[in-house]
């Protein structure tokens, strides 16, 4: 006969109930950071940015990073209970880091060369990236307000 789960195990593995707002900010934020990554992938592969030193590599890293954090945010990590909260909080922080980093870098490159590269005006890919950077930061920032405290509690 299987032994009954301990109190600690029950807490760690119990799926948490979440508000619709938390769910919305999580999945819309995930979609937004995936859009940021998608645009960078399109620019890297279709717009020849793979031939640009440093900036091309950063575009690829942004795509890979966005795919990882977006994947974690979409994955059913809630099944892991409080461990899942930690993963979600880390992924949200990572996504915000990518979004803010992209936003600042783009604005700098509009006015002065960054790693030898300067943007040519606010073309569509630039505008879309800036918009999704802001959307990502706002949504996942709000999501962190929900999941962050739970993640911190789980560390104690």
């Amino acid at each position: 006969m299987a032994s009954a789960p301990t109190h600690a195990t029950r807490i760690a593995l119990r799926p948490l109930s979440v508000s619709p707002l938390e769910t919305a900010t999580r999945y819309l934020g995930a979609a937004s950071i995936l859009m940021v990554g998608g645009i960078h992938a399109q620019q890297y592969y279709d717009a020849y940015f793979n031939s640009v030193p440093t900036i091309g590599t950063l575009f690829l890293l942004s795509f890979v990073g966005a795919a990882i954090v977006g994947g974690v945010l979409i994955a059913p990590v809630r099944q892991l209970g409080t461990i899942g909260d930690l993963a979600l909080a880390a992924a949200a922080l990572g996504a915000i880091g990518i979004a803010v980093g992209t936003f600042v870098s783009l604005l700098i490159s509009e006015y002065t060369p960054l790693f030898g590269f300067m943007e040519s005006g606010y073309r569509l890919a630039v505008v879309l990236t800036l918009v999704f950077d802001v959307v990502t930061t706002v949504l996942l920032g709000a999501f962190l307000l929900f999941v962050g405290p739970r993640a911190i509690r789980s560390l104690r």
């Binding site: 020849y48 940015f49 031939s51 640009v52 030193p53 006015y111 005006g121 073309r123 569509l124 890919a125």
Partner: protein
């Protein structure tokens, strides 16, 4: 108090606007000067710092079709005045063309001229023959002809 805050905002906005204007005028680069450089591809056109210049075959009648991502990777050679012909450059082939954004691009033999973003030092021709944005890019001879080698 509110007045001080307003003044601060005006000062900040003015400073940013001034910085943008200075940056924009700096990027226009004054009167562009063309020179000739010896390279493994032959004698080719370069700018005043020796950076290689290219031509994009789809440009027709001296007008650029390279905008957006294309212009980010292949920045046009801009000038704020009449371009200057250095030694070996035929002044009669030099010209200008207005871009959609109002900036003035240097042309040579009717070809709008561009840099390639990967060329960082004099003598580099990393863009030569690259097929990007619909056609290969070529360096230009002093006669204003594309050099299809390399």
């Amino acid at each position: 108090m509110a007045s001080n805050r307003t003044t601060s905002w005006i000062a900040l906005t003015s400073a940013l606007a001034l910085a943008a204007i200075l940056t924009a005028s700096a990027s226009a680069g004054g009167n562009a000067t063309l020179r000739v450089a010896k390279s493994p591809l032959g004698r080719i056109l370069v700018d005043s710092k020796g950076i290689t210049l290219y031509d994009f075959p789809p440009d027709k009648h001296g007008m650029s079709v390279c905008y957006g991502a294309c212009a980010a990777l292949w920045p046009p050679l801009l000038t704020s005045g009449k371009p200057v012909a250095g030694p070996g450059v035929h002044a009669s082939l030099l010209g200008t063309a207005k871009r959609k954004d109002g900036k003035v691009q240097v042309t040579y033999g009717g070809h709008p001229l561009y840099y390639f973003v990967s060329d960082r030092k004099p003598g580099q021709t990393t863009g030569q023959g690259l097929n990007q944005f619909g056609a290969p890019w070529w360096v230009i001879s002093t006669a204003g002809k594309e050099i299809h080698r390399g």
